[in-house]
């Protein structure tokens, strides 16, 4: 009996009449509908069965008379199975049991839907606002369907963050909203006793773009990949590929093998540039700017290569629903091989310099330590988890695109600290090079006649669910798509790897030195723009309008202090 069948029978036995429906058609996926009373026991059961919590997805299903829907998704990494459990609450009482007491990593998802959909979570330990700013009026829930995507309530005059009180005997050092060790706006209020970190509160979600809402209201299926790519300036292809995969899964579309290999090449090139970028930033964060400069010099070759392949250094615009936009010809493949050889050689030299440097060891070993148990408890992903002994990588565990045909190692260390993360990332550079070389070999053997992109035959039926995972350089990214009418998704949920990883940062910071704050936060490579993707509007303005560059420059010159 496969894991899928086993889980279905276990759930049916346990729930009886509370089990509503199952959907098993797509391989490696299981969608289950249950009554909301059964949510806690089901989560309990899935955890006991070895499930790894991924993300919560909620949406407004009132137009179908179903009230509000809430999903929790779980990954079974050894059995290549993703499970999504869906449950509904009536419109007049949108309340669910909180699963945060059992799964601390669900805390943010639940707080997010309290803000955006007005759902209530019974038993959640900390129901502060997460996504909405503190001056957002009560009672307006931006993700509900009756709220327009461009709504802009007036902002309050005086509004500061409502931060928690610092514990007795500590003082607060504010890292953020703008700080040179954070490359995007985020606020860590760090409690210190001398130089020792005794705790920290995170307040993020300041870069409001409302991308999910946009995808559900304004764009069509085919527009979204290009917007999805702009979720992140570093791992854009991850999001466009991930979205395309979930729509293809929902529509039951199988793309050509050539397109799958080209997607792999683009994703791995992106990983190369991202890992080198991170390596440089990590060096910079511990005050070693030479590593920064050298790593970025090597990375530059990848950027030039990407430009010659796609026309862009970043934000490649290669991936669309049904395939890819450009071919990788044999001449281009030669260029790639040449660059890879240089990058490999120079990275080896850089690695040698890093591993030999005693001070780097001093600054990273034992720093930001988290045990394997804590890592599992917080559902960490990516190099951060692999540095803590967790052997997960969705490229291998839930193969997508052409990864099933490729051979590569998943580097894992168990030092549990920043050094481990660095080692994992360094080794993954060589694995990525290996993967690209294999893909190029296989591409050369495929018939030239294979189409790059397939057209959909007819509209995608509404109400189909698609769940997709992609291993971003930072870890697993999850996309969920529920198909809708009007040629656009009814619900599109993006969960970037930073979403779970950032939730565990306060834990990693505990009892480290203040000087280690930048490198610990940097070690998860936080992508604030990926994480903050959901919100709606810019608050200062009263109406929606576009701001053009000239005007922006004028504004920045006029505004000197305050407003």
């Amino acid at each position: 009996m496969s894991k899928k069948e086993l889980l279905i029978s276990l759930l049916k036995n346990k729930l009886g009449a509370d089990f509503l429906a199952e959907e098993t058609a797509s391989p490696g996926r299981l969608f289950v509908d249950i009554k909301k009373e059964a949510l806690r026991p089901v989560v309990q059961l899935l955890l006991e069965q070895g499930g790894r919590y991924q993300v919560g997805v909620a949406y407004d299903a009132r137009k179908n008379g179903q009230g509000f829907a809430l999903l929790h998704t779980f990954a079974f990494d050894r059995e290549a199975l993703l499970v999504a459990v869906r449950t509904f609450a009536p419109e007049d009482n949108p309340e669910f049991d909180s699963i945060t007491p059992v799964v601390p990593g669900a805390g943010w998802s639940e707080r997010e839907y309290r803000d955006l959909l007005g759902l209530n979570f019974k038993g959640h330990p900390n129901l502060k606002r997460l996504v909405l700013s503190d001056d957002w009026p009560e009672g307006i829930y931006p993700l509900r369907q009756d709220v327009p995507h461009d709504l802009m309530p007036p902002s309050a005059d005086e509004m500061a963050f409502r931060l928690d009180q610092a514990p007795a005997g500590t003082s607060v050092v504010p890292f953020g909203p703008f700080h040179s060790s954070l490359h995007e706006p985020a606020h860590f209020s760090v409690y210190v006793d001398g130089e020792d970190i005794k705790g920290c509160e995170y307040r993020g979600f300041m870069t409001h773009r409302g991308i999910e809402k946009l995808g559900q209201t304004e764009l069509t299926y085919n527009d979204v990949p290009f917007v999805a790519e702009r979720i992140c300036g570093i791992c854009g292809s991850v999001h466009s590929a991930n979205y395309a995969q979930s729509v293809e899964a929902a529509a039951g579309l199988k793309i050509s093998r050539r397109a799958e290999f080209i997607r792999v090449v683009m994703l791995e090139l992106e990983r190369l540039h991202s890992h080198l970028l991170w390596l440089g930033v990590a060096g910079h964060l511990i005050g070693f700017d030479t590593v920064f400069m050298q790593a970025w010099r090597i990375r530059e070759k990848i950027m030039w290569l990407a430009e010659s392949l796609t026309g862009n250094r970043k934000t490649y615009g290669m991936i669309i629903i049904g395939g890819v936009r450009r071919n990788i010809t044999s001449e281009k493949a030669e260029d790639i091989r040449k660059v890879l050889q240089e990058v490999e050689k120079e990275t080896l030299a850089l690695e040698k310099a890093i591993v030999k440097d005693k001070t780097i060891h001093k600054r990273t070993r034992g720093v930001g330590y988290l045990s394997k148990e804590e890592t599992i408890k917080w559902n960490l992903v990516g190099p951060v988890a692999r540095a803590r002994g967790l052997d997960i990588d969705v490229r291998r565990d839930h193969p997508y695109a052409a990864y099933d045909e490729l051979e590569f190692d998943v580097p894992v260390t168990d030092s549990g600290d920043v050094w481990g993360t660095l080692v994992v990332r360094l080794k993954e550079i060589y694995e990525a090079i290996k993967i690209i070389r294999q893909s190029l070999d296989k591409l050369a053997k495929l018939p030239e006649s294979e189409p790059l992109a397939l057209e959909l035959e007819g509209p995608i039926p509404a109400g189909q669910q698609g769940l997709s995972v992609v291993e971003a350089p930072r870890g697993e990214a999850v996309h969920y798509v529920l198909t809708g009418d009007d040629n656009r998704p009814e619900r599109w949920r993006v969960r970037a790897p930073t979403y779970p990883n950032l939730q565990a940062v306060p834990q990693m910071l505990l009892n480290n030195k203040l000087a280690d704050f930048p490198i610990i936060v940097g070690s998860i490579d936080p992508c604030i723009s990926c994480t903050d993707r959901v919100m709606l509007v810019e608050l200062r303005e009263n109406r929606a309008r576009k701001v053009f560059r000239q005007e922006l420059e004028k504004m920045s010159r006029q505004v000197r202090f305050g407003r």
Binding site: S180, S181, V192, F288, M293
Partner: protein, 299 residues
């Protein structure tokens, strides 16, 4: 002549330091595969900063006074230095203790400015700066005291002469300690802990801008040059040529060479944490004490 010497000192220490910063930036850039700014860039930077409005972010006199006090005390410290091994007009009235006081005063002015700014990063920077001063001051003091012990005098020229009077065990030990401490004296990586840009945003200087910041920058540059000067005029004073001009030229060349060394070390090391640095400083203090002990014994 003795009055002229005061002004020669002043010009030497006002003109050269920004160039030395330029050397550091150029060498660092070359190590990092960069072009780097031209060598005269720091002069332009200082001029640019001096031309800006003075933004006073903390409304108290200590915040405004601190940069002036810092620069004034470091300038006073350098003008009393002996020139070509000779006392000048001002250093007749001064001795070793005056020099140490003035150096410490300039360090403490930075602290006062940081604490007066009321910025939390400033306070963290100030506490790091304070720890650094406490741990490094003894190393500097021991060097000069060793000279005083061996020269048998508290006068500046005598003590500096005394450091290198005989190249014995205590000389070599102290030279080694001084070289190991040099990177910390000039607060470059791995010891740029009080400023640490990514952690505490230049720490003590976080609230300073424009002319006030220029004064601090200048202070820091002069201080850095002073520590290299001390190495050349103390430990290497036996190399001093008889001609005055040649001496000044040789000093400048040796100081520049030291800064090349400092830049290369700085560019190839990440930053220590303050707790790691303090352990290192403590080790240096013990070695310096041992060197003075040997010096007293005449070894």
């Amino acid at each position: 002549m003795r009055i002229v010497a005061v002004f020669i000192n002043l010009f030497f220490f006002l003109l050269l330091p920004p160039f030395l910063e330029g050397v550091m930036r150029k060498i660092t850039a070359r190590v990092q595969s960069r072009q780097g700014p031209p060598l005269y860039q720091p002069y332009l930077d200082l001029l640019k900063l001096l031309r800006k409005d003075n933004l006073v972010s903390a409304p108290n006199w200590a915040f405004r006074l601190a940069p002036l006090l810092a620069l004034a005390s470091i300038l006073t410290a350098v003008v009393i230095l002996p020139l070509h091994g000779q006392e000048n007009f001002l250093s007749q009235k001064a001795d070793l203790m005056t020099l140490i006081y003035l150096l410490t005063l300039s360090g403490f002015s930075i602290l006062i400015g940081a604490l007066a700014s009321g910025n939390p990063f400033g306070s963290v920077g100030a506490s790091r700066e304070m720890m650094t001063i406490i741990m490094l001051e003894p190393v500097l003091a021991m060097t000069i005291i060793l000279g005083a012990v061996r020269g048998g005098t508290m006068s500046l020229s005598g003590a500096l002469q005394g450091v290198a009077s005989t190249r014995s065990l205590s000389y070599f030990l102290m030279l080694a300690v001084y070289l190991l401490a040099l990177q910390a004296f000039v607060s470059r990586q791995p010891f740029d802990i009080p400023e640490a840009e990514v952690e505490i945003l230049e720490g003590p200087y976080v609230e300073y801008s424009g002319p006030n910041y220029a004064l601090f920058r200048y202070t820091l540059n002069i201080k850095r040059m002073f520590y290299a000067w001390l190495l050349v005029n103390g430990f290497l004073s036996f190399l001093r040529p008889a001609s005055f001009l040649l001496d000044l030229l040789l000093q400048a060349v040796m100081i520049i060479l030291l800064f090349v060394l400092i830049s290369v070390v700085g560019a190839t090391h990440p930053r220590f944490r303050i707790d790691q640095a303090i352990k290192y400083y403590a080790f240096l203090i013990i070695l310096a004490l041992a060197a003075v002990g040997l010096g007293v014994k005449g070894l």
